[in-house]
Symmetry: C2
Subunit: 341 residues, 2 copies
Amino acid sequence: MTTDNKRPLTLRDVSEATGVSEMTVSRVLRNRGDVSEKTRQKVLSAAKELGYVPNKIAGALASNRVNLVAVIIPSLSNMVFPEVLTGINSVLENTDLQPVVGVTDYQPEKEEKVLYEMLSWRPSGVIIAGLEHTEAARAMLNASGIPVVEVMDTDGKPVDAMVGISHRRAGREMAKAILKAGYRNIGFMGTKMPLDHRARKRFEGFTEALAKEGVEIMDRAFYSGGSALAKGREMTQEMLERSPELDFLYYSNDMIGAGGMLYLMDQKIDIPGQIGLAGFNGVELLQGLPRQLATMDACRLEIGRKAAEIIAAQLDNPDTEIEKHVTLTPTITFGDTLKRR
Amino acid sequence: MTTDNKRPLTLRDVSEATGVSEMTVSRVLRNRGDVSEKTRQKVLSAAKELGYVPNKIAGALASNRVNLVAVIIPSLSNMVFPEVLTGINSVLENTDLQPVVGVTDYQPEKEEKVLYEMLSWRPSGVIIAGLEHTEAARAMLNASGIPVVEVMDTDGKPVDAMVGISHRRAGREMAKAILKAGYRNIGFMGTKMPLDHRARKRFEGFTEALAKEGVEIMDRAFYSGGSALAKGREMTQEMLERSPELDFLYYSNDMIGAGGMLYLMDQKIDIPGQIGLAGFNGVELLQGLPRQLATMDACRLEIGRKAAEIIAAQLDNPDTEIEKHVTLTPTITFGDTLKRR
DNA sequence: GTGAAAGCGCTAACAG
DNA sequence: CTGTTAGCGCTTTCAC
């Protein structure tokens, strides 16, 4: 503990306090090179005593190294992304890299801005959600000269590396499972988000697989904002009033799916006999609900982990041969709301 | 769009491309000082063409200014903290400040480490959750010489400024409401987190207010890990089997409270007649559940906003007289699980 | 309006 | 093992 200082301390202050050269102080503080145990201790205790905190700004400029990994995601309130972050963290914790998070709110222009801001700090790598970016953003990523991993989605061409699942395939698989279970009158509910490309791709894959069997979606609805659980309720009620012949409801995420499920249970509707249900994501929350909603795991943790590993490996040795296109395979959980066949 | 470069571009590159001095290029790019419209355009287009991204590291070192606000929170998976972040963001968006988030996992030593890391980037301000920190962390905050706002909790003495609610009072208020409604056999369930000081303080306030009326908690249980909703179910079942005479259950957060509620509904137990329930936080999720759980809003958005305002105001003018101790008052939502009296 | 010089606090590279 | 020198890429300051 020291008295409050107006000016933050510098290496020089520690150097003067110890009589050791700045350079040696720097070596001690970074654990670099050989320093005698005696001076080591002297420096360490002085630094601690003074309350010295190194200036990474200066260090980064001098060494041309910044141990930051920029992580750019659409949202923090989705639960999906914090989990990806957790995966990233779990890997980076064992390195000297640190994640720095930027949020885009699903807006391409904001993504571009956030990316620019982050790149201006010269991070060592970038992990960014999705494959769709503005022209300028893609150009920046290309020009950055650092490892770039695009995550979540593998339906497209990455700038550099990519890790994720095929959402198109995920939609198709769910459609197949639903058809196989015998449902034919299918409704869809999702977010009104033209910019959520992954939800869009799932939807496309879904309708495509239905079409292959001559089935067409009977009703659909989109929402935006509000509590997803509450929206799921409302929309489900409305849709069933509008299209009472529906026998299956596919939701673009588990939260609205859970809302729908709770509504149907209130109405004493037989699930999955009269109506089947499925969501997407495999959120942990589902486990506490009265019934388990059918869903599909998005492999979020694994995606984060893999992405971080790719960055770390490249940084460790730029010549390492690593798999740059990693496609994970989500599995269906049938739960209690989709007949198993 | 340019060809890929190994070396990132510098001001000098733009300077050479335009024939304008580095200094003037810098002025244009920062919108500082007077520059003729002609050179302005020339520089701007060249910079864009080349794909120049300024190096903030160098800029920060030279100007001794970093437009970053360090935000240090215990967790991202709690939903509470992302909301505080949203509040912070909403204010900082209108300034040139940028939040940078660090996560501590409720561990004091990790908080200390994260704080050290962040301070070493010389941010312009710090927003940190809670009032309890290690000795060293407090010393760093003191020595940093930048505005510091401790958020969430106001039961204690801040290093500099603080914004939050009194969790002790929140616990007391809820206890009073419960007693007033006529419940006497009260059980408590919460997280097994000695380090979640806010949950602890709520519990203390709660028992204290009960004690004042001669009431003692009849049963209690603590959990850790797992899906909160599922845990709420399990624990509620166990507790009621153990203590069937309970007529009220107070949960330390809404998620386990919701789990408990769903369990009781499964059991066709009369809520709030036979058993009343209450949680804490006012999470949006609750709105979609079959019944609305009684809860108390933690003012998360407002806390974030106010904290960011304090930082921004201090930075804008260090001599501004501002309120450094802001205590917000949470309100009880009775919902459908706590009798109103 | 524009430019030249002098650092910001640190580390790479070398010399002892 | 320790110290010296020369920048990193930018901005501040001052001169023109």
